[in-house]
Every structure is written in C-alpha cells, then in structure tokens.
C-alpha cells in the first residue's frame, strides 16, 4: 500500500471555495503576525515623544506606506470573507456562497481603493 498524507494537494483543482479559504487563512496568519509586531511597536509610545516620533518617521516613508495599503487589503479581504463565513455558518449562505464571495470582495476592493488613497496622502517625504 502506498501511503499518502500531504500538507496540501497542489494537483487538485481550486474552486472559489478553496481559493477563499486559502487566502483567508494566509491573511489570518499574516494578521496575527502583524498584530504581534504592532503591539510591540506601539509599546514604544510609552518611551516618550521622541522615541515615538522616531519610529513613526521611519514608518511613514514610502515603502511602509505601500506596505500599509497591503495590510489594509489583507484586513479587508479577511474581514469581508470572514463575514461571508459567518453568513454561511448561520444564515444559509452556503446556498449562494460564490455570489456572496464575489459581492463582498467587490465591496472590499472598493474600500481598499478608497483607503489606500487616504493612506498614500499621509506619506511624509523625508526632509531632503
């Protein structure tokens, strides 16, 4: 007998449901990782204004603002798909789960575009 347990069967066709799950999972993992970092960073607030502003200046550069739009996207995806999951679990969403996915992710995308615009307005160009 040939034994087969594997982490993921990459040869299996991915349908909307499995894409949603994979991305939700990756997003969730990214978020918990980010949350750990975030708590650590904010802790620097307690070391006084100078320390804080130092960190902030660093984080307000272009690369980090771009990353922040990414974070915003990850959050929106996870949040809106999370809502989809709750609808599936409690409100018969499974009967229309594909439509739900498309609609909710479309809304999330619009919010992402809006939010990213605002975030990028905040870029502090480093004094030359």
């Amino acid at each position: 007998m040939y034994k087969r347990t594997r982490f993921y069967d990459f040869t299996y066709y991915n349908f909307i449901g499995s894409w949603a799950w994979i991305l939700h999972r990756l997003a969730g993992l990214a978020l918990i990782f980010y949350l750990c970092l975030h708590i650590w960073v904010i802790n620097s607030l307690t070391h006084g204004e100078a320390a804080f502003n130092n960190v902030m200046a660093f984080l307000n550069g272009v690369p980090f603002k771009l990353l922040e739009t990414g974070l915003w996207g990850v959050i929106l995806f996870h949040a809106f798909n999370g809502v989809r999951i709750v609808i599936i679990d409690f409100f018969k969403g499974s009967l229309v789960h594909k439509k739900l996915f498309i609609v909710l992710i479309a809304v999330a995308f619009i919010l992402w575009a809006l939010g990213s615009y605002l975030i990028l307005q905040h870029v502090q160009w480093r004094a030359g």
């Binding site: 007998m1 040939y2 034994k3 087969r4 347990t5 594997r6 982490f7 993921y8 069967d9 040869t11 299996y12 066709y13 349908f15 909307i16 449901g17 499995s18 799950w21 999972r25 999951i85 599936i88 679990d89 409690f90 018969k92 499974s94 009967l95 789960h97």
Partner: protein
C-alpha cells in the same frame, strides 16, 4: 458517433513492482461519446490487463468509481470525456492510501462512518405500523440520504489531506442525516462524537466537497446546520 484519438495519462502503482506511483500514457482511439469508465475499460480490456480500478453499476448509484480526472473528483461512469477534451489525466482519489493503480484503501472511510453510529436509535417502542413523519420533516434529511458513499467529497476536502483522522464530510453528513431525522432519539450520543477535534470543527467551509459530490448534495449547508446544533447542545 465517431472515433477520436485521445491521450490518457494514468497514475500507475503496482504493489510489489513499483516503489511509488508513476505516470503512464496511453494513446488510444475511443468513441466520442465515451465516459471515463468506457476509456478505462477499453484500456483494461484491449491494451493493458494489469490496470486496476473499481466499478460496478456504471449508472452512478453504487459509488465504486470515484476518481480524480484532470484535477477534479468525478464518478468515472457518469462523466463523459468531452468534459475534459482529448487529454485526460486520471489519478486515484487524493488523501487515501493507494492499494493499486486507481484503487484506494477506503477502510478508514468506512470506519469513520461506523463511528458516528449510522442507524436509528430509538428510546420509544416502534409503533405497529410506520412512524408518522411529515413530508416537511422528511425534507430536512431527504437530500442527505442520497449519499452513495463514493468518498469523492472526503477525498476533495483540503482539511482531510493533512489529517487522515478528520471524520470528513461524508461521515459528518451521515451524522446530520440521523441527528435531523424526526424519528431518531440518538442525537446526544452522535453530537458528542462529532463535537471533536477531528470532528465537525475541522470543516472550514471550503466547499470542495460540494463541488466534488456527484449527487450534488449541499454538504456544507448541512454541516453548518450540524455545527449550530452542536453549539446549541453544548451551551
């Protein structure tokens, strides 16, 4: 009806001979209206007698012939080749150990089924005639009784790939079928069984099972109802 040439790639594994599975390509001519099972029969009968696969009813009711074709789980006997074009890639169901070629070990699958006590449990004496069950009560479980235990769902479920102990959609669906049967009194026992780390909580509403189910059973919907029932029960 016309003959067409197709190329069929099959994942072969002959115990005793092969260390591990490998691909073999058969270039054959078949009728364009053939099903996947017709193709396998053609190969087995005319080209290579050593090919092994399961089949019986060839009318999509016995559940023998579930396998993976071009990345999706299907019943070989009901799936026409034109759904996939002229290149076929046929593999055994994912997740299960391979006995030989397309034949997988379903013993764990059936063991899980047995685990959820798949039979009516009664506290009350049965009536002289039939139990009264309204069409609406039947409707609750009607679709779930169509399951043919083909294992296509469990084999398609990403939760069961890394964890062979996961009960899987088919067994959970069976639990649903009995827990929601108006005649049954065994809900508490079964809820305790599915309310397990390897039970219903390993389902992350991925829907691969629904996509794979040849009987188009809305498995995820029933598992959701099951989860809510379990939660209600343990509150």
């Amino acid at each position: 009806m016309a003959m067409i040439d197709i190329s069929v790639k099959i994942l072969r594994y002959q115990p005793g001979k092969d260390e591990k599975p490998h691909w073999q390509v058969f270039n054959i001519a078949v009728e364009d209206e053939s099903t996947i099972l017709d193709v396998l029969n053609e190969i087995h009968w005319q080209h290579d007698g050593t090919l092994a696969y399961r089949r019986s009813c060839r009318s999509s009711i016995c559940g023998s012939c579930a396998m993976k074709v071009n990345g999706r789980n299907v019943l070989a006997c009901e799936t026409p080749i034109h759904r996939f074009g002229r290149k076929l890639k046929i593999e055994p169901l994912s997740g299960f150990d391979i006995i030989k070629d397309l034949v997988v070990d379903l013993d764990p699958f059936f063991a899980k089924l047995k685990r959820i006590r798949p039979y009516l449990i009664l506290d009350k004496p049965a009536p002289d005639k039939e139990f009264v069950q309204s069409p609406e009560q039947l409707e609750q479980i009607g679709e779930s009784t169509l399951c043919i235990l083909c294992a296509a769902c469990s084999a398609a479920c990403p939760s069961s790939w890394p964890n062979s102990e996961y009960l899987g959609p088919a067994a959970l669906l069976k639990a649903y079928r009995f827990i929601f049967d108006s005649r049954d009194d065994g809900a508490d026992q079964r809820i305790e069984i599915v309310n397990d780390k390897n039970g219903v909580w390993r389902c992350h509403t991925i829907f691969n099972c629904v996509e794979a189910c040849p009987k188009k059973i809305k498995i995820t919907e029933y598992l959701s109802r099951l989860k809510v029932k379990v939660v209600e029960n343990s509150l």
